[in-house]
Amino acid sequence: MTATTAAQVAARPTPPSHVKRDIAILATLAIIAWAFLTIDVRLDRLIDLPERLWSLFQRMFLPPDWSYIEVALPAMVASIQMAWIGTLIGAVLSLPLGFFGAKNISSGPVSNAVRVFLNAIRAFPEVVLAVVVFVPIAGLGPVAGALAIGIHSIGTLGKLTAEAIESIDSGPVEAARATGAPTLAVQRWGVLPQVLPEIVAFWLYRFEINLRAAAVLGIVGAGGIGAVLSNTLSYRRFDKAGLAIIVVVIATILIDQISGYVRRRIIEGSDRKAIQAEVFGEPGPDRAGR
């Protein structure tokens, strides 16, 4: 009895070393401490922050200027339209780029070049794109905003499309080739039906993100609800700003719910897949088993 126990104890593997993990944790903590201790911030302002926020809240929402809805609602609609047109531009332009960026469809050098191009587009924030490129082209207004949103969206959408295409089942492609279909027909019948639901779900998810970007673009002259927010806040018309904020919150939540419902109808569990794609840059790992 004792002999077996001793043998078992002897056979037990040594516990794995935690040194690397501990070093990583310490390094992270050190970086965080550095940021907190060296940033030049007037912390004394924090003391009366709750009081200031409360007074701002009172002036904004107790009560908001309800009559201002005549201005805020059309502005919000313009922002939604800006986001929709922008997403559509991104979708239309990213689809062919996704095919050229997928390693199993196009050749290695082409797909690498397309990937670099997509990453470079992502580096230009919408706000900068609008000011630098699209306001000169389309003038001040929501059209410049829609173009900026559209071009910026190509980066993410193209990458996700390419990755979705790379993980397709090659069977239908081979079947289409075996029938002697020309290249374009192979893509249309062999590839597209496999990836389209997922890609449409990504487009809708991107629309939700772009709706928030459309609000931002207002302050650099792209109109919509962002312009209303920026004007009312800088002229300190807080009751009007309060109403505009209420409009933004309700409209955004409403559209998120509708878009999310449609996405879930298109693919099961699309919330998780979209998030997975957003964070890890690849459609979820659960695809692998398909």
């Binding site: 302002r45 230009f124 998120d256 964070v279």
Partner: protein
């Protein structure tokens, strides 16, 4: 005839679903409405194509970055990184309990689930820029307003990502913890938390990266960091300097992405 060839019995064709054509028609109608001159934003492709060459005027300047400007970007760049780290730390620390409260699996009750989800929906519905504008109004300009804006932005993103992950955990350890008679908090701590920890760390890194990207936007309203500098240079029409700042941000985001890919690979 059918009696003569009973072997070939085809299954009935599935009914054609109306959902796809209806969805397509809806999308087309929304597009026509949104693009129209009268009801929408007045999107005219012909006019845009005509003026396309104007887009290159400033772009050529941006694509020739002025490297002499580099020394003046160091300090605001460091401030941006500090703001991003502080906001990600505090935001993700708050997002941890919020994410557990907002998941069906770990919420202690239906009411707390509904309340947490509603609050998070409102937090997420407001764009980062609006937080920045509100905090700048309340606190005047400076990095503190930017940090607070980013914290709210991070709570929204972090809690959403975490609750979606918690929703999909393996229920086995939870049942085991319940069977062993653990309290709710003990169950979350031992049955769920270890499962989502690698993802949580990955999300935190992602949120940090988002903060660096958001810094351009936050700075435009005066909430500190490199965005302030960027906005000033755009205002002075110094587009060579704008080009340098964009290049720096691109490299910074690229390096952070590389590091977090490495770290995530080890975690999962």
């Amino acid at each position: 005839m059918t009696a003569a060839t009973p072997a070939v019995q085809r299954p009935p064709r599935p009914k054609r679903s109306l959902a796809v054509p209806a969805g397509l028609l809806g999308a087309i109608l929304i597009t026509l409405w949104a693009a129209s001159e009268q009801f929408g934003i007045g999107f005219d492709i012909a006019a845009i194509l005509e003026d396309l060459s104007k887009g290159s005027l400033i772009l050529t300047e941006v694509l020739q970055p002025n490297f002499a400007f580099f020394p003046r970007t160091i300090e605001p760049m460091i401030e941006t990184i500090q703001m991003a780290i502080i906001a990600a730390t505090i935001g993700c620390a708050i997002a941890l309990p919020a994410g557990f409260l907002a998941s069906r699996v770990t919420a202690p009750g239906r009411i707390s689930l509904a309340v947490t989800r509603s609050i998070l929906n409102v937090i997420r519905a407001l764009p980062d820029l609006l937080y920045a504008m509100v905090f700048v109004t309340a606190l005047s300009i400076g990095p503190l307003a930017g940090i607070l804006a980013l914290i709210f932005f991070n709570i929204g993103v972090g809690a959403k990502l975490l609750s979606e992950t918690v929703d999909a955990v393996d229920r086995g350890p939870i049942e085991a913890a319940d069977a062993a008679g653990s309290t709710h908090v003990q169950m979350v701590r031992t049955g769920v938390f270890p499962q989502v920890l690698p993802n949580y760390v990955a999300f935190s890194l992602y949120v940090f990266e988002l903060n660096i990207r958001a810094s351009t936007v936050i700075g435009i309203v005066g909430a500190g960091g490199i965005g302030n500098t960027l906005n000033a240079q755009m205002g002075f029409f110094n587009f060579n300097n704008v080009g340098l700042i964009i290049l720096e941000l691109f490299i910074l985001v690229f390096v952070i992405e590389l590091i977090s890919i490495q770290l995530r690979r080890r975690l999962t």
